[in-house]
């Protein structure tokens, strides 16, 4: 994707996002039949659009029940501050934690297995402070808790994964949308690299198949793609503000393939541009035909 394509698309999708849908809060109360597949909410406050997006899908109680242990998995991969769009927006993460507790969750855990030093990424990303402030149990990954697991995927048969993910009652994936050298983009499915132990760099040899295998294994209850800021060049860790675009948007859904397919369009690409989206679609993990999905767009 070149910059011109990107800008053209950013303007187009930006225009699309501004279509007002004032009836939204009422419709969401109407029940399951009218629920959208994806909620795309735009607005200046990351916390408010996150809350609105979850409400559009039927509210947090649809996903989290009283007494449950929830893992909220953001991308805390890099030693960058929030404005560089290398890690998930801390306000988005904090709001999801608050929502979970409002639904009566017993514990909300937040962690990631970062690429850079964890102390720096947790601190510099602002996520540790924000999530802790809203009551989450923020912990560094404990190497002892990676256990070989039978993924039984097409490519990955077993891999050491983080046990706290498997032991959780509910999992909420909170990735950020960024460009990436080998995967083209890093969206929701790519975020599952952060629960992998072992020599995980090896999966880059066949990244798309590996990611689908992981996504099929993990099965989150909810995916909230942070596109408050997206990284359009020099991903996945960026480092220059000129590579960051502010979209002030989050995309929420339960279909991992659909969220990533929609996320792809934010970068001016076709929804089926990502290998993991195509493979996920044909493997029955989800639906990449976003034209056939009910997409609720809202600006607040």
């Amino acid at each position: 994707m070149n910059r011109r394509d990107f800008l053209k698309n950013a303007v187009m999708s930006g225009a699309a996002l501004t279509i007002p849908l004032g009836m939204a809060p009422f419709l969401s109360l109407a029940g399951g039949a009218d629920r959208p597949d994806l909620a795309v909410v735009r607005g200046p406050s990351p916390a408010r659009i996150t809350r609105a997006a979850v409400n559009e899908l039927g509210g947090i109680r649809r996903f989290v029940s009283r007494g449950e242990i929830v893992v909220v998995k953001p991308n805390i991969g890099w030693d960058r501050t929030p404005e560089y769009a290398a890690n998930t927006n801390p306000e988005v993460v904090a709001e999801i934690v608050r929502l979970c507790y409002e639904a009566g969750a017993k514990k909300v855990k937040v962690f990631d297995h970062p690429v850079s030093d964890a102390r720096r990424t947790y601190k510099q990303s602002g996520i540790a402070a924000a999530a802790t402030a809203s009551g989450a149990l923020v912990s560094f990954v404990d190497e002892r808790k990676f256990k070989d697991m039978a993924i039984k995927g097409q490519l990955l048969k077993t891999w050491p994964l983080y046990t706290e993910i498997v032991e959780a009652d509910k999992i909420i994936n909170v990735p950020i949308a960024k460009v990436h050298g080998i995967a083209t983009l890093t969206l929701g499915m790519k975020n599952w690299m952060g629960i992998m132990g072992g020599s995980r760099g090896r999966i880059h040899q066949r990244i798309d198949e590996s990611l689908v295998d992981l996504a099929r294994f993990v099965r989150p209850s909810l995916v909230i793609l942070d596109a408050v800021r997206i990284l359009v060049d020099n991903g996945p860790q960026g480092g220059s503000l000129s590579d960051v675009r502010r979209l002030d948007t989050v995309i929420a859904g339960t279909d991992q393939v659909a969220v990533d397919a929609f996320g792809t369009t934010l970068f001016g690409m076709k929804a089926d541009a990502l290998g993991c989206v195509r493979i996920g679609h044909s493997a029955g993990l989800g639906n990449m035909n976003i034209s056939r999905l009910r997409i609720k767009r809202l600006t607040i």
Binding site: D79, R80, V115, S116, D117, A118, R119, R120, T121, Y122, K123, Q124, A128, F140, R144, H180, G181, I182, S199, G201, R202, H204, Q205, R206, I207, D233, N234, P236, Q237, G238, G239, S240, D243
Partner: protein
């Protein structure tokens, strides 16, 4: 006598306090994720007059804060070696280890005490000739190095393996309790990651050997070897605080048994007192005040402005001359190495970011190991002979073990002598410590028609120093595949080594960093 007992206890309290402060600061020499460390972790080395003096002499430059070092110097001139007896954390450890020696034998009064002065002379002569070897023998540098590279990793390993064992067996109730304690210890005293250092074993053995010398004689190190003790001893020659012995002394020798410094001398046999003016060597006295209490006649007292009552410090002209000569000979001996030649230096000698040019770096570095302790990835390791014997135990980045975190500047923040400059984030981003180059014979997309590009993903510069070229290749079956082959943009690469650390071709990675192109050198350059 009661009052004196209190003085001894005050001394003990002071020793405990400074040891705890030292260990606490040592524990704070670790990243918590912020850019700044926030604690003055190097103040003990700032207060070290030997480090201060020899660094100034060797580098011919003034540096940093010298208030603390001057304070110690002035305190010594007035009070004698109170630093050794009341403050020095290594001295306190020797004091404690000395308690393991069963019988307290009187001071042997051999000539061995001269050794430390001769070592000091040797070190000072080398400093005048521009070579800084203080760190090898300086007690504080030695202690911090031994703790950082050896004792603390041992401590951490022992605790971790214990708690990991309990965790793995998952014993009901007990494991829950042990995990609770473990999580507390992790927050309080354990390092974030298990540290591991090249030469950690040998540096630890040297430390234990030095500690074991206390079994031969209490405070062996302080009495006979410590060059800082020697410097302070010379400064305390005319200290105002002095010991005096009254006429009541019958030479029973009770004072000798607990003497920590070897300053009290035995009277002649049969109770006759030797010349009292020579019964005390003030340069050797650690001001521990142990001789005060046991005196049955209450003849020993300490006070200001007494008459000089000390034995002379007699080193012997020949010994001094030999020591000077040894220093003069050692200087060229250490330098006749081809490593200094342009292009012949050890290419893996990747110095930390902000390190001064190699010549000046070696004149400043005191091998305390603080930079290695604080290094966030554990990539900073002690050299062996990569920088010559002169540079032994100085820091080198070993990317296979750990890379240099792009936005981290901690090593420069903790360096006590400015051998590593403190950089701000802009300077850090612009500092090259080397260059990465790709081994096409091992790189997956080049040699094996396989996709990879991990090096590009992790490259932290903006724009990335590693870029890729899309090429169409055929595999063994003749199928055409499109692969991304990495290349290094040498003008952008800072040599941080994360590509080498993260390269999935383990063992001998397909991308490696050498110090070629390091900002600190004018000569070790590739680009025009």
């Amino acid at each position: 006598m009661k009052l004196h007992l209190q003085v001894k206890n005050i001394r003990r309290f002071s020793q405990a306090l400074f040891l705890i402060l030292f260990l606490w600061l040592f524990l704070q020499t670790e990243s918590k994720g912020a850019n700044e460390l926030g604690y003055p972790v190097k103040i003990f080395l700032d207060a070290d007059p030997l480090v201060w003096l020899t660094t100034i002499i060797a580098s011919r430059t003034f540096y940093g804060v010298f208030i603390l070092a001057l304070t110690v110097i002035i305190a010594t001139i007035i009070l004698g070696r109170v630093f050794c007896g009341w403050i020095c954390p290594l001295g306190t450890l020797h004091h404690l280890a000395g308690n393991l020696k069963k019988k307290t034998a009187p001071n042997k009064n051999t000539g061995l005490y001269r050794t430390k002065y001769l070592l000091l002379i040797f070190i000072l002569v080398l400093a005048f000739l521009g070579i800084q070897l203080t760190g090898i023998l300086d007690p504080l540098a030695l202690l911090i190095r031994s703790l950082s590279l050896s004792l603390y990793p041992m401590f951490s390993y022992a605790l971790r393996s214990f708690f990991d064992g309990v965790f793995a067996y998952n014993i009901p109730l007990i494991t829950g309790g042990s995990e609770f304690i473990y999580s507390f210890l992790k927050r309080a005293v354990l390092p974030f990651n298990q540290p591991s250092f090249l030469q950690g074993i040998s540096i630890g053995l040297i430390f234990f050997l030095i500690l074991a010398l206390n079994l031969r004689e209490k405070r062996f190190w302080c009495k006979y070897l410590c060059p800082l003790g020697a410097l302070l001893g010379i400064l305390s020659r005319y200290a105002l605080l002095k010991r005096s012995v009254s006429e009541d002394c019958d030479g029973c020798g009770a004072c000798l048994r607990n003497c920590q410094g070897g300053a009290c001398l035995l009277g002649s046999p049969g109770g006759a007192v030797m010349d009292k003016a020579k019964a005390w060597k003030n340069a050797e006295c650690l001001m521990c005040l142990n001789c005060d209490d046991p005196c049955p006649k209450n003849a020993v007292s300490f006070g200001f402005s007494r008459k000089p009552a000390s034995a002379a410090l007699d080193l012997g002209k020949r010994r001094i001359f030999s020591s000077v000569l040894a220093g003069v000979a050692a200087a060229p001996l250490l330098r006749i190495s081809p490593l200094a030649k342009i292009g012949a230096s050890e290419p893996t000698l990747i110095r930390p970011p902000g390190a001064l040019g190699e010549e000046m770096f070696l004149k400043r570095c005191v091998k305390c190991g603080e930079c290695m302790k604080v290094c966030i990835t554990g990539g900073l390791q002690p050299t062996f002979l990569e920088a010559g014997l002169e540079g032994i135990w100085s820091p080198v980045l070993v990317p296979r073990i750990g890379y240099c975190e792009y936005r981290c500047t901690l090593c420069g923040q903790v360096c006590p002598t400015g051998a590593i400059r403190k950089l701000n984030l802009e300077e850090k981003a612009a500092t090259k410590i080397g260059l990465a180059m790709i081994d096409k014979g091992r790189c997956l997309p080049f040699a094996h028609t396989m996709s990879c590009i991990v090096c590009e993903e992790v490259c932290p510069t903006s724009p990335k120093a590693i870029w890729f070229e899309e090429v169409r290749l055929r595999d063994r079956q003749g199928r055409e595949t499109i692969l991304k082959q990495p290349h290094v943009d040498l003008s952008l690469c800072v040599g941080c080594g994360i590509c080498e650390t993260k390269c999935p071709v383990l063992g001998r990675p397909a991308i490696t960093v050498t110090n070629l192109g390091e900002s600190r050198s004018k000569d070790n350059q590739l680009l025009l």
